[in-house]
Amino acid sequence: MTTRRQLLGGFAALATVALPAAVRAASARVVIVGGGFAGASCALALRRIAPALELAVVEPRGTFLTGPFSNAALAGLIGPERIRARPGDGLRRHGIRWFAQAAVALDPVARELRLADGRRLRAERIVVAPGIDFVYEAIDGLSAANSDAVPHAWRIDGQFARLRAQLDALPDGATVLIAAPPNPYRCPPGPYERASLFAWHAQRRGLRRRIVIADAKDDFSKRAAFMASWNALYPGMIEWWPRAQGGAVVAVDVAARRVHLAGGETVHAALLSLIPPQRAAAFARDADLADASGWCPVEPLGFESTRHPGIHVLGDACIAAPMPKSAFAANNQGKACALAIAHRLAGETPPAALLLNTCYSLLAPDYALSISGSYRAVGGRLNELSSGLSPAHADPALRELEARHAEGWQAQLLRDSFG
């Protein structure tokens, strides 16, 4: 595939190429469903790139808690205000119309949306960024209705306060079980960061605690570094039971707080945090944007649906492998999609964006691990250009330095995404 830049030749030409006037002047209506990291980033970027566009965002939540650092907020390491987003404020400040309600249906061929209040919106381009849903029925005995008692808090929202209250009420010597889901899912290092900070929560109070991670996988993000760090920080407190050892949770008795594992074992725990398998949010699946995997296939330049042209799917809902399902990836995809939409509306082929991801996991206030990668579309596929993670064994000074970087990263990611 030949990109615009390759056609223009070397660096000397590049430095003089700005956005074509037609791209800047694109005037059309673009509607975005979902004002999370992906949708809000895309809206703000579209406003900057093509100011003449008529933009609207459909998002029912005026304020919500966000994922990055939510485990730290659960454990009381930071206050919840540090992870709060108010997408409506930023959107209005930038003159972007906000419909504070849910979109209930999308006709992907007519490109028409129906909102909860019955209103219909047509647009030249529609961006769908609704996040994830949970496949509760994959664990026997678990349902959307009883999940609150064994909270995953993986969409933060109402379960966040429940999980925090359960954690704070744990007595000395309690067993905690965290069920980690199979791939792919939102925030690959998240369950292991949660186990770490639940251990910090106990250590800080001088309580004994046993934390079991019952895993549906045999490996996880930053595993070597996590396990070496658990030995150093919380010796003997965290156990990881991989799938190969029968660790996957197959059934739960919510009332009795008891899980049954694939290996035949039964575990009773004072606190169960069952993170179910995941798929794209219902809105995207109902609009015929998902394939048999439950996730939405897209092309890699502008994250346009390969099933319905003119509809873009961003963030956790789309298949962007090798990018992980993270807030940072969603933010970068939002910007790349905005650039692509402006080009397409002007009849131009969009340039291949350089997409980045960095995720920090906090294991203690002065101790963080990171993973990062860079990605770019080559030959119709999203390729990983580079990747790397914190060393498995390192000086405490490096862990502390990464913890300070993590604080800066979280604060700016929130600001960059929500304005």
């Binding site: 830049r5 070397g10 660096f11 590049l14 430095a15 003089t16 190429v17 700005a18 956005l19 791209v23 800047r24 970027a45 900057r48 790139i49 940072f328 933010n331 970068n332 910007k335 790349a336 650039l339 969009p350 340039p351 291949a352 964006a353 350089l354 997409l355 980045l356 960095t358 990171s370 990062s372 990668g373 860079s374 990983e384 250009l385 580079s386 990747s387 790397g388 993670l389 914190s390 060393p391 390192a394 000074a397 490096l398 502390e400 330095l401 990464e402 300070r404 970087h405 604080e407 800066g408 990263w409 604060a411 700016q412 990611l413 929130l414 600001r415 960059d416 995404s417």
Partner: protein
């Protein structure tokens, strides 16, 4: 309470200023390369150091140093590792323009 960071690993911090006119009007080159920078480097309190205001060749030299530094375990060398010199020059040109440094 930022630790002192190894000088070679960080962009220097510099005063924040409104976006230069060139960036705001879309006249800056290669926006597709620089779009990830602002996810970490920006105006949030506690943000990592802002991108420096400097001419493109100086930025290129700094980016190349970051990319080629011996591995120390922080993120910038990993993020730049896959970029060839030409792409890094184009990225430097984008950042220089967006930050209002000379081309």
């Amino acid at each position: 309470m930022l630790l002192r960071l190894p000088a070679a690993l960080l962009f220097g911090s510099c005063a924040l200023a409104p976006l230069p006119a060139a960036a705001a009007s879309g006249a800056c080159p290669n926006p597709e390369l620089s779009l990830g920078c602002g996810s970490c480097h920006g105006a949030a309190p506690d943000a990592l150091p802002a991108l420096p205001r400097a001419p493109a060749p100086a930025l290129y030299a700094r980016l190349a140093r970051l990319r080629d530094a011996p591995y120390t375990g922080t993120v910038m060398p990993r993020l730049l590792a896959g970029l060839d010199d030409q792409t890094l020059q184009a990225l430097a040109a984008a950042i220089a323009c967006e930050r209002g440094g000379a081309p």
